[in-house]
């Protein structure tokens, strides 16, 4: 019985010009989005890799220098891209692409692509994720809004129910049929995408991510499908079912994310760049653990002189200047940890507001999960910045130690060379393993499953109360 209901639904969907046109346009857009993603990945990944290797070579070939001069020269860390980061560009339009790793400073990433874009980009970028998040629900609504209400208007619902078909079976049969119709268009595109991913250089490492993404978007479509069927069963006409579902889609998918963004900003304020830098400068003056840098230097000076049993810095067999630089880093690192920690904490709380509002918007839940899996979320960016900072600290530490040990009174013209530069190594970004990404997705997954459960329950309840005739 279930199969024949599903088959009938599928056939009538395939015969409906409105649905077929919409589905074809949707599939076309999705293909276009994926093709452009493949192209952009090829271009941009090459560019980032080339830049990183140029910078690494520049560092290695910088010639002979005092280590602190090299520390000022520093290196750049370029954020690598993954094939999926063009399926869902997430926040990557609004975060910088490179960080300068230099002495004394923890810099922000720079070069946000959004600043080189036109205002139209704010309507949304044509990506696979955008197409699926915005258009897939509408396609599903089109497939399902008339499922019950339309049959009631035509009078066929009365006949079907008179045959003793269970309304709940009818619900799942119709869901299956609609899913089949949508699947005819979507599944080939997904397969195409997966094949493209395996062919892309480095893409096979992200097949797992992609499969989870397929799951996420399938659940998303299912949520809208059952909600639409529920509304179609309960509404007094197919016209009002359509209006209700389109209104729900517009409010929850288009308006609510913006409300979330502004609410987050108003509830958990972040400092301005100037405030942030001022706070850092003030704490640099204050020092750490109640001791200013000057006090720390004086203390260390005394210890060092005692250790080497001498009375003047000039007589030390090491370079005290290098130790001072090290202390400077120690203070500034603690201050950076505190303030970047506060800032990232505020961002985290703001993200919490988004997550809380997933209760009202399935799109928001899917959006958060999708970005995370595509490694284009804010969390991924902060993770990249964190790895770059760890690299910076070890690089500066290596330079300061070399200066302390070698640039001594006996050897004032000490110059470090390629051996020291090589010790620093090259910055490489370590991707989060999928298991770790999934662990961070708890709130979004929970919201999606709740939505799915609620929509199925709503569908079943509405089907049970199904009226054969319009009242």
């Amino acid at each position: 019985m279930l199969a024949s209901i599903a088959k009938k639904e599928l056939v009538s969907a395939l015969r409906d010009g409105r649905v077929m046109w919409s589905a074809a346009i949707f599939a076309l857009m999705l293909v276009a989005a994926l093709a452009s993603a493949a192209q952009r990945y090829a271009d941009i990944s090459k560019e980032r890799e080339a830049a990183q290797s140029i910078v690494n070579t520049q560092w290695q070939n910088q010639g002979e220098k005092n280590p602190h001069a090299a520390a000022h020269y520093g290196v750049y860390a370029f954020k690598p891209v993954t094939p999926l980061s063009f399926f869902d560009t997430g926040v990557s339009g609004f975060t910088g692409v490179s960080i300068w790793l230099e002495a004394h400073k923890q810099n922000f990433a720079e070069g946000e692509p959004a600043r080189d874009a036109t205002a139209i980009a704010r309507f949304g970028e044509l990506t696979g994720a955008f197409t699926l998040q915005m258009l897939l629900p509408l396609l599903v609504i089109l497939l399902g809004f008339a499922a019950f209400a339309g049959e009631r208007e035509q009078g066929t619902l009365r006949q079907v129910l008179a045959m003793g078909v269970s309304p709940v079976k009818l619900l799942f049969g119709k869901a299956l049929g609609a899913a089949g119709a949508a699947g005819l268009f979507v599944v080939p595109v997904f397969l195409l995408g997966l094949i493209g991913l395996t062919l892309a250089p480095g893409g096979s490492a992200f097949i797992g991510h992609a499969l989870v993404l397929v799951g996420v978007y399938t659940v998303y479509a299912a949520i809208f499908l059952f909600l639409t069927l529920a509304v179609s069963a309960a509404a007094d006409s197919s016209r009002s079912a359509l209006v209700i579902m389109v209104a729900f889609w517009a409010v929850s998918s288009v308006a609510l994310p913006k409300v979330a963004a502004d609410a987050a900003r108003l509830v958990y304020a972040t400092p301005t760049t100037v405030e942030f830098q001022k706070a850092i400068a003030a704490d640099m003056e204050n020092g750490i653990g109640g001791k200013t840098l000057d006090a720390l230097v004086a203390e260390r000076k005394e210890q060092t002189l005692r250790l080497y049993k001498t009375d003047a810095i000039e007589k030390l067999p090491i370079n005290f200047q290098g130790i001072v630089l090290g202390l400077q880093e120690q203070v500034s690192n603690a201050v950076f940890d505190k303030h970047f920690g506060l800032l990232n904490g505020a961002f985290d709380k703001q993200k919490g507001v988004f997550e809380a509002l997933t209760v009202l918007s399935p799109r928001l839940a899917v959006q958060m999960a999708s970005m995370e899996l595509a490694e284009t979320s804010l969390g991924t960016h902060i993770g990249f910045a964190g790895q770059a900072e760890t690299f910076r600290r070890s690089m500066i530490d290596t330079m300061n130690k070399a200066m302390t040990m070698n640039s001594t009174g006996a050897n004032p013209d000490y110059r470090a060379g390629p051996e020291l530069w090589a010790k620093v190594g090259a910055f490489t970004y370590t991707h989060q393993p999928l298991s770790k990404l999934l662990a961070g997705l708890g709130p979004s997954f929970m919201a999606m499953l709740l939505w799915l459960a609620a929509s199925i329950v709503a569908g079943v309840l509405a089907a049970r109360k199904l009226k054969a005739l319009a009242s």
Binding site: H68, A69, Y73, Y76, P113, R115, I120, R239, H381
Partner: protein, 474 residues
């Protein structure tokens, strides 16, 4: 006859709960959006006020210490009398853009493009790349402002009240009866649309004025002109969607099909076309690579630094303050810095010019392709009118660059000549004075969309009116 139907429609609408709910929703969303925009811009104004305070304090402190030396010039001048130390290291001047009073109505690009830069005597690329701390998640999502309500939500509300204007009468079976009264269908639907449009447009006028009041805009003549044009864009946009509904109703399709068609057209114009136009504009004229810019700047810096290596060493590798240098001695270091800056700038300037040229071409493509979607046209005009479009920020950067030239000239002249700064010099340091561009720029950008929207509405209505002649009443 038009009058009778018109008044009858008004009566019917006044008792229609859905209609009131839709109007109420529009009011609620607009008020919330206006207040939200206001909060955002108040934060920015507060930031701007503080920038200027900080800077004045620093400058006064510097001036005071130089003044003490001026009064009693014993020994070497203090390091803060070094024009290099002040202009290239200590002091910067915040060049701040003033937002238009109506800017909160349409946040536009103001959450992406900085509204202030800290100008120093270094090359401009060093400070133009700075940006304000913001949660990228919020930037990606965009702001909930009045322009959003008008561009995204208003068409949905219009579709909701007009998708079944004619089809419903037909499905109800009363169309034949009405036609038998000697009323032409055109008169009937026109009266229906007119009643709805009149109420909605009056409400929109009230809402636009209310929003301006809520964001605290003063009603000066230029603001009134801006507001009037803003309203004109919204009316043109609303007219377009009404005309579209009018046309779709003329196709004599079932109500549900009308709804599906209109929802799809909304999706097409508000979501699909903009994302495609964006791809077209950025593919035709992509920005040069910022990644490559980074590596090229680095190459140039390293090259220049090699030449200046010995000089840098004398200053403890970029720490002249640790070398305990006085003003005169420090300037030797800063002359080297200037040389490096000049070498880097030579590389950067053509690339920056390329950025600018490509951006201009990109905006040119958008100015042309905005007519592929009423939503894009409306967005461009609504941003331009309140000064939150890219063109406004480009103009600001232009003013900053001009000021940068003055600021730089002031310090570099003195560095090269080896002059120390006197207290009087501190009063003569150039200050940035933002000149808001006149309304002509914005108006020029707004008239195109306004005329386009109105013409589109008229054409669609005319087409629809022809079709109503052959509309089957049963």
């Amino acid at each position: 006859m038009f009058g009778i139907i018109f008044r009858q429609e008004l009566r019917v609408l006044s008792g229609n709960r859905t209609w009131w709910a839709i109007l109420g929703l529009l009011v609620l969303l607009t008020v919330a959006a206006a207040l939200n925009g206001k909060a955002r811009f108040e934060q920015m104004s507060a930031t701007a006020a503080k920038l200027n305070q900080d800077e004045a304090t620093t400058q006064t402190a510097l001036k005071n210490s130089v003044q003490r030396y001026d009064a009693n010039p014993v020994g070497d001048p203090p390091s803060v009398a070094s024009p290099g130390n002040v202009g290239l290291s200590i002091l910067g001047h915040y060049a701040v853009m003033r937002h238009d009073p109506l800017a909160p109505l349409s946040v536009g690009q103001s959450d992406v493009q900085p509204f202030y830069y800290r100008v120093t005597a270094h090359p401009s690329h060093t400070f133009l790349s700075a940006s304000e701390i913001q949660n990228p998640l919020s930037q990606m999502t965009g702001s909930f402002d009045v322009a959003f309500v008008m561009i995204f939500v208003l068409p949905i509300l219009i579709i909701a009240v007009s998708f079944d204007l004619m089809s419903r009468e037909k499905e109800g079976g009363v169309l034949g009866l009405i036609a038998a009264q000697g009323v032409t269908l055109r008169t009937l639907i026109l009266a229906k649309v007119a009643a709805r449009a009149l109420i909605l447009v009056s409400l929109l006028l009230a809402l636009v004025i209310l929003s301006a009041v809520l964001v605290g805009a003063p009603f000066t003549p230029p603001v009134m002109t801006q507001l009037a044009l803003w309203f004109a864009v919204i009316v043109g946009y609303a007219a377009f969607w009404f005309a579209l509904a009018f046309l779709v109703n003329a196709m004599a399709l079932p109500s549900v099909t009308n709804g599906v068609i209109l929802a799809n057209v909304w999706l097409l114009f508000v979501v699909v076309v903009p994302s495609i136009v964006n791809v077209v504009a950025s593919t035709l004229y992509p920005a040069p690579s910022r990644v490559e810019l980074t590596t090229e700047i680095r190459e140039a810096t390293e090259e220049a630094d090699k030449e200046a290596a010995s000089a840098r060493e004398a200053y403890l590798f970029d720490h002249p303050e640790l070398a305990g240098a006085s003003a005169g001695a420090m300037d030797g270091f800063y002359i080297q810095v200037l040389a490096t800056d000049a070498a880097v700038e030579k590389v950067v300037t053509p690339i920056m010019a390329e950025f600018e040229a490509q951006a201009e071409k990109r905006e040119g493509v958008v100015a042309l392709l905005q007519y592929t979607s009423p939503a894009i046209a409306a967005q461009q005009a609504l941003n331009a009118l309140v000064g939150t479009g890219n063109e406004r920020f480009t103009d600001f950067v232009g003013q900053v660059l001009k000021f940068h030239g003055d600021w730089r000239g002031f310090f570099t002249g003195r560095i090269i000549k080896g002059q120390r700064l006197t207290a009087a010099d501190f009063d003569a340091i150039p200050a940035f004075n933002y000149q808001a561009p006149g309304l002509t720029l914005a108006q020029g950008m707004a008239w195109g969309p306004i005329v386009f929207l109105l013409i589109a509405a008229v054409l669609l209505s005319a087409w629809a009116a022809r079709r109503y002649r052959r509309y089957p009443v049963v």
